[in-house]
Amino acid sequence: MNEMNEVRKPPVATTGIIGWFRINLFFNWTNSLITLFVIYCLYQFIPWILDWTIFSADFKYNYLGEQITNQEMCSRNLDPENGGACWAVIYVRFYQFIYGFYPKVEVWRVNIAYAMLALALLPLLYAKLPYRKYFLYFTYIFPVIAYFLLNGGLGFTEVSTNKWGGLLVTLVLGCTGIALAFPIGIMLALGRRSKLPVISMMCTLFIEFIRGVPLITLLFFGMVMLPLFLPEGIDMDGLVRVLVAVTLFQSAYMAEVIRGGLQAIPPGQYEAAKSLGMSYWRMNLLIILPQAIRISIPPIVNTSIGLFKDTTLVIIVGILDLLGIGRGTLADTNWLGLSYEIYFFVSLVFFIFTFGMSRYSLYLEKKLKTGINMGAD
């Protein structure tokens, strides 16, 4: 009897590390060949890229021990056989990459703004943060603080936005665009589905027009045409004009993404909310939107990542974001020919931010789905 009650274990070869290797990497001949080929490719590539980016690379000094101040001093230009990447260009131009042409005396303000941005994101990233409610209040007022801090006013010296650049501009455009486009997109999506024909038509027209026009065109539009619509004497800041264009563009996309989520909500949810006496706004805020947004998290993050990368297009209207500073550096005779290093660095910075957004979306999906059988009756 005892033997019969013993739990039978699965065959050894299908579990544990060996089992995993067998099932996933060496399942049959084709599978094994592909595995070996990929291992060979990685063997060729990984040592080379590590050598180029780290082991043979110059960071501040070249292989002669001199501090690098221009491209001629890079090891790879002095001795093409030996040298790797010449990161000194990033080291020397680091200030510009991060702050643009922000005056050095005032740069502490940007640093504080960066730190505050991290603090503002904290309650969004960790739902279990103690005193999360108070941190959230800070998140809401952060944009106002950041505005005065970066731009000036309230006792701070004014720093014109044409001195802003690099990561600062990328973050300002990306964060503001994403943060503003979200509520505007929700309103547009609700408006497009509205039963009132005038509202529905206006929202549809707006979405279709903005979505049908390339972002570059909108940027030119913002730069050249927007001032014409403003009353005389009011001069709109260049960065603000670009920001308006970026926000409009993003909100049209966001609206369509959220509309997709709204369409997935069964009509029974509306009926149940109405039968409990809820008004249109309560029904949408408490019942419909929380579910619709939950469904739309992957596409919302997708368009947000898209926008974050599209901010590089502002170079076309003369605003120097991270990529713009990189291209500016390349045009400097001191650093001619270091395009690998600069584009690698710019890509890496963008990747860190977009990968972070992508992981955040996965975390949100996991967190919000616990215990909820979405789409159930």
Binding site: A272, L276, Q291, M374, G375
Partner: protein, 247 residues
């Protein structure tokens, strides 16, 4: 309209496109009366009760609920919906909220009840439908019968004078039908005005004060359960009963 009528439908007509779904429907419901509506699918019975809390709009005739006439007036609609609770075939619980939150949501936001009081109320309603232990679960974790009982509790939490049931047991597995019907019988015995669209003839015989039989958008027969089941007047009713009771 008699003094005691709490719901009064007069010559109600409604079309879906060209389809004439309600044709001159007249119905008077007195306070504390329990009406069971039956009829073949597509006969307009669901549409009729959905007109009573304005989930559907009627195009001709008048509907008066508790002295309030249903017109385009939004305030009237809101007031009627506060008087009338509704339970759906597909439960329609809010899947992103826990059972307790499903019940407290409307009292807190529509009736402006303090949170603690609303939670106490929710627990009392869950006792009535006999599942207080499920308060912190999500709808997706409950069986169909439990979900429907939560839906009933959610409606009752708004303290309605009238309850509408739209085929409340049609989406349930057979062994769960009884637990929902038991709750509805308790409610009927407590003196609630009820209009129930259902094919559960056993339930109808136990609680109904009056049977209403609908076919092709018209009320074909209205009678006491005794007369309806034993001695129906119309041939259409006889045919329907012979089919439904034969199962």
């Amino acid at each position: 309209m008699s003094e005691e009528s709490i719901i009064s439908l007069k010559n109600v007509n409604k079309w879906f496109g060209d389809f004439h779904v309600l044709q001159d429907v007249n119905l008077e419901v007195k306070k504390k009366e329990r009406i069971v509506v039956c009829g073949p699918s597509g006969s307009g019975k669901s549409t009729m009760i959905r007109c009573i809390n304005r989930l559907e709009e009627h195009q001709e005739g008048s509907i008066v609920v508790d002295g309030i006439e249903l017109t385009g007036n939004l305030k009237n609609i809101d007031n009627v919906r506060k008087e009338v609770g509704m339970v759906f075939q597909q439960f329609n619980l809010f899947p992103h909220l826990s059972v307790k939150e499903n019940i407290t949501l409307a009292p807190i936001w529509v009736k402006k009840m303090p949170k603690a009081e609303a939670e106490e109320l929710a627990m009392r309603q869950l006792e009535i439908v006999k599942i207080p232990e499920q308060a912190n679960k999500y709808p997706g974790q409950l069986s169909g019968g439990q979900q429907q009982r939560v839906a009933i509790a959610r409606s009752l939490a708004m303290n309605p004078n009238i309850m509408l049931f739209d085929e409340p047991t049609s989406a349930l597995d057979p062994e769960m039908i009884k637990e929902v019907l038991d709750v509805m019988v308790d409610l009927a015995n407590g003196g609630m005005t009820m209009i129930v669209v259902t094919h559960e003839m056993g339930f109808a015989k136990t609680v109904a004060d009056r049977m209403v039989f609908m076919d092709e958008g018209k009320i074909v027969e209205e009678a006491s359960p005794d007369k309806f089941f034993n001695n129906p007047e119309s041939d259409r009713t006889k045919l329907f009963l012979s089919q439904i009771l034969h199962q």
